[in-house]
């Protein structure tokens, strides 16, 4: 078979609109998700049960319910609380909260990755808890935080496709529209996927740059001492000698 590229070029406008909406939704959800994640993570790290328990429940709820189900809970549930939002807004809110649960776990892990003595030496000299976090802990946790947060951000871009089920005119929805008009699902969904692919690659590249700026880690290669075992244990091409 051959790919009929005219299907893509003829509908480039719709794809572009969809891509823009997907970027908008993702960026909004990633930023607000990160902002919500910090207080959630701090609550979860609290030694007091009354503080940590709600945070644990929050995180576990979002991590154990599929986003497609969560989204429809928000869609049908928010009106119960007197909140009538546009599907797009509902989707962004749901995606942001969903992401915040994952981000919160990353923030928590990143804070815990910094040795305890760092917080202690900051507190001992008189810094408040929040100042110690900001000045001493956060700069040190980025190394751990950035790669993990990149993966979650990419997941959110991909998860945003589910907003199509609320007829939010993002990329997947536009793909379904074009597919309904052209009956060329293979071309349409391949094109849609390729756009997502490009978006997530862009996001990954952006984060990689910021990681390098902050002093990236050395790549851990397979030691040449274990050349033989590397035949089985390494999937990377063998180093040339």
């Amino acid at each position: 078979m051959t790919l009929d590229l005219s299907i893509i070029t003829d509908n480039a406008g719709l794809f572009a609109q969809g891509a823009v909406a997907t970027v908008y939704i993702s960026v909004a959800a990633i930023i607000s998700g990160l902002l919500i994640a910090f207080p959630v993570a701090l609550l979860r790290l609290s030694p007091r049960r009354v503080m940590s328990w709600p945070a644990v429940a929050y995180v576990e709820l979002f991590r154990n319910i599929p986003f497609i189900v969560m989204l429809s809970l928000f869609f049908y549930g928010l009106p119960f609380f007197g909140l009538r939002l546009q599907p797009m807004t509902t989707g962004i809110v749901a995606l942001a909260l969903f992401g915040s649960a994952y981000f919160a776990e990353i923030v928590r892990g990143a804070i815990l990755s910094v040795p305890r003595g760092q917080m202690e030496s900051a507190r001992a000299i008189g810094m408040s808890y929040l100042r110690a976090l900001r000045e001493i802990i956060f700069p040190q946790m980025l190394r751990f935080f950035i790669p993990a947060a990149t993966n979650t951000s990419i997941s959110l871009v991909k998860e945003s496709a589910v907003l199509a089920t609320l007829s939010v005119a993002e990329l997947t929805y536009q793909g379904l529209i074009v597919q309904g008009q052209t009956f060329a699902p293979f071309e349409v969904f391949l094109a849609t996927a390729t756009i997502y692919w490009g978006l997530t690659a862009l996001l990954a590249a952006g984060f990689r740059t910021s990681e390098r700026r902050l002093g990236g880690q050395a790549q851990r290669g397979f030691s040449s001492r274990h050349r033989l075992a590397a035949r089985y244990l390494s999937l990377e091409p063998e180093p040339r000698s």
């Binding site: 599929p66 945003s160 692919w197 690659a201 033989l228 089985y232 999937l235």
Partner: protein
Amino acid sequence: MDFSVEAALAALPALLRATGTNIAIAAAAMALALAGGILLTILRSLKIAPLNLVIGVVISFIRGTPVLIQIFLFYYGLPALGLQLDPLTAGICAIAFNSTIFISEIMRGGLADMDPGPVEAAIALGLKARAIWGKVVIPQLLLRILPPLVNEATIILKGTALLSVITVVELFRAAQQISATTFRPFETMLAAAAIILVLNVLVSQFGGMLERRLAVRRG
């Protein structure tokens, strides 16, 4: 409109029945993905340059695109290549294929962290590649990557709800259908969410238990 607990409870039996489909899909997809993951990992270890290049592109594609689109490609797209699958089969294949890629990536990480000693010993003993993989590498690897595998299982289970979009009548689709007749979508969705939440927590707990068991046996 007031919240109706009765509506949520009334939906439970039908939802629970539909959940059987999710479990079956997840089990099938997990089995396929595990087998696929092992095969792909061995294939990658052969380090055939052009092949690994293609595999690399496929991995990047699967990791960089939504599962939802991958499901559409399997269900709506494959007929263009002359392969018509029913929704259930297409869905299982899409999820399994996606998971194969992620499991292979988990395995790559696990292999790099493994102790080279036993493998070197096996090579020194003159074991055949088949035996080294089957008797030395894979068993150790599976033990080592059990936690991320359990995590992958919960991801698969959550992913089964996406098959509703290609008309597979699983939990979420069933919830939509019930909502359409009872006009109680929120209550019904809440019941569905509760079911899958419990199921996921059970899988995680079971994984944790298995891990402790094996840790004891190893220790």
